[in-house]
């Protein structure tokens, strides 16, 4: 369980997050929605320890998150991963990064580590890419490799920052179907998304964020009023056929 209490975060005196209280129970499929600049990525980065806390607290499984993260890996998938296009790494190298938490300096990856990494690649349908150099992968393929890395950590938490950003439309449906499958296997999924139509099909819990928490509710209760409160006047719900 992840418990966020009274979290505030500001950047150059500008409030990004205000008084965030949120409880995410195990095996939930949570979507965080909100307009650009609403603080969604900031909230995720605070959870995974990429940003230092300014006030409030985050507890994971009852333990302060910084201390929890020192001895547990979390399955994180960033919105955009920066790397040198010439970086000489294969897809398997990138997935094996998910196993680094247990690897001491001077040690090599064990057969077990490789087996876990390959099985995660199989799960996300990218095992055939294991020897491919990352610069040769398409956006969608790379995204599957990054999801395999998150799974390879073995963490029960998967935290994703707009995973659909670099996938084409048909790919989004199968990507979310895969997340749903992982959720049914017991993983807690927390994802930022803009694709409301997809979210209502797959997620069970919705967090509407725009600096403050506007609501956190079961997905089926999502309605135009909530969307309006979160996004403001500028957004209208449009039904789309895929």
């Amino acid at each position: 369980m992840i418990e966020i209490k009274q979290v505030n975060y500001s950047l150059n005196s500008k409030a990004i997050l205000e008084n965030i209280d949120l409880k995410i129970t195990d095996a939930e499929f949570v979507a965080i929605i909100g307009p650009n600049g609403a603080g969604k990525s900031t909230l995720i980065k605070l959870m995974i320890g990429l940003l230092d806390m300014q006030s409030g607290s985050i507890h994971i499984d009852g333990e302060d998150h910084q201390s929890w993260l020192r001895h547990n890996s979390i399955g994180y998938l960033p919105q955009r991963e920066e790397y040198d296009r010439n970086f000489p790494a294969t897809a398997l190298d990138i997935v094996l990064l998910g196993r680094m938490g247990s690897l001491k300096p001077g040690k090599r990856f064990s057969q077990e580590d490789r087996k876990i990494a390959l099985s995660a690649m199989e799960e996300t349908g990218c095992q055939n890419l294991q020897k491919s150099v990352i610069s040769n992968l398409s956006g969608g393929e790379f995204q599957r490799v990054l999801l395999a890395r998150a799974i390879a950590t073995g963490s029960k938490y998967l935290i994703l920052d707009e995973p659909e950003a670099s996938i084409d439309r048909p790919g989004v449906q199968s990507f979310f179907a895969l997340l749903k499958k992982l959720n049914q296997q017991g993983k807690t999924i927390i994802t930022i998304s803009h694709d409301l139509h997809t979210l209502t099909d797959y997620c069970s819990f919705l967090v509407c964020l725009n600096k403050t928490l506007h609501c956190h509710t079961q997905t089926e209760l999502l309605n135009a009023e909530i969307i309006h409160k979160t996004f403001g006047e500028a957004v209208h719900l449009i039904e789309k056929e895929y």
Binding site: G49, L50, P78, F87, D93, L97, G106, F109, S135
Partner: protein
Amino acid sequence: MPILYGFLINAILGALLSGFSLALFSPYVTLRRISYLGEALSHIAFAGIAIALITGLNFTITTLAFVILVALAIGRLAERRKLDETNSITIFLSVSMALGIVLISLKRGYTFDLSSYLFGNVLMVNATDLISLAVMATLNAIFISVFYKQLFYLTYNPEIARVFRVPTQLTNRLFLILLAANIVISLKTAGIILVSAQLILPAAIAANLTRKFRSVLVICLAAAVISSLGGFALSWWLNLPTGATIVILEFFLYLLSLSLRKKF
């Protein structure tokens, strides 16, 4: 004749050892896009040399301590994101050069040997220098084999590596300390120009020939050995300055790799 051979062997070993050490760091420095740091640290050493000159302290130890401290300060600023890495490198570089010039101007009657500072003098390598270079080469080889995976992922993306529990802070600090130490120790043999070339060109050559990280390291070492030995031989036969000849030969290897790149 034996004296001549002795100094020749010292020079060849000196060129090889500094080439080996810098080539080991080459892929990490270029892929992390901090090759500028290598050049900057060799300029920053100038202030260390000046401090030693004014205080009368040991040149190598004073310069080593100064450059390591500055390298760690640059690393800390980048880690804390207080300042962009390139900007902080440039600030430390210019302040160190200014400090060096001011301090040297205080030492009246002292003339600074700019040519030796820029190009080094591999022919002046003595037994003590060789021992320092050999110790550095051993430390580098141990560090890179022990922290191989940690360095690999730190180079790929330090922020992401940290999320997946790679000890990025420890790895980066050890990396910066060793990089600074290598530059100071190699400076006498190689000079600023050769140090910069040997930090950047091997990885640039390897990037044209392979996409496998292990092969990158092997090609870097091969490029360093070929250019050090070849450059040394050419400079001996054609009576040219050794450091500069090594740089030019290494550049020709780079052009050769560039022409082979199309075949991949």
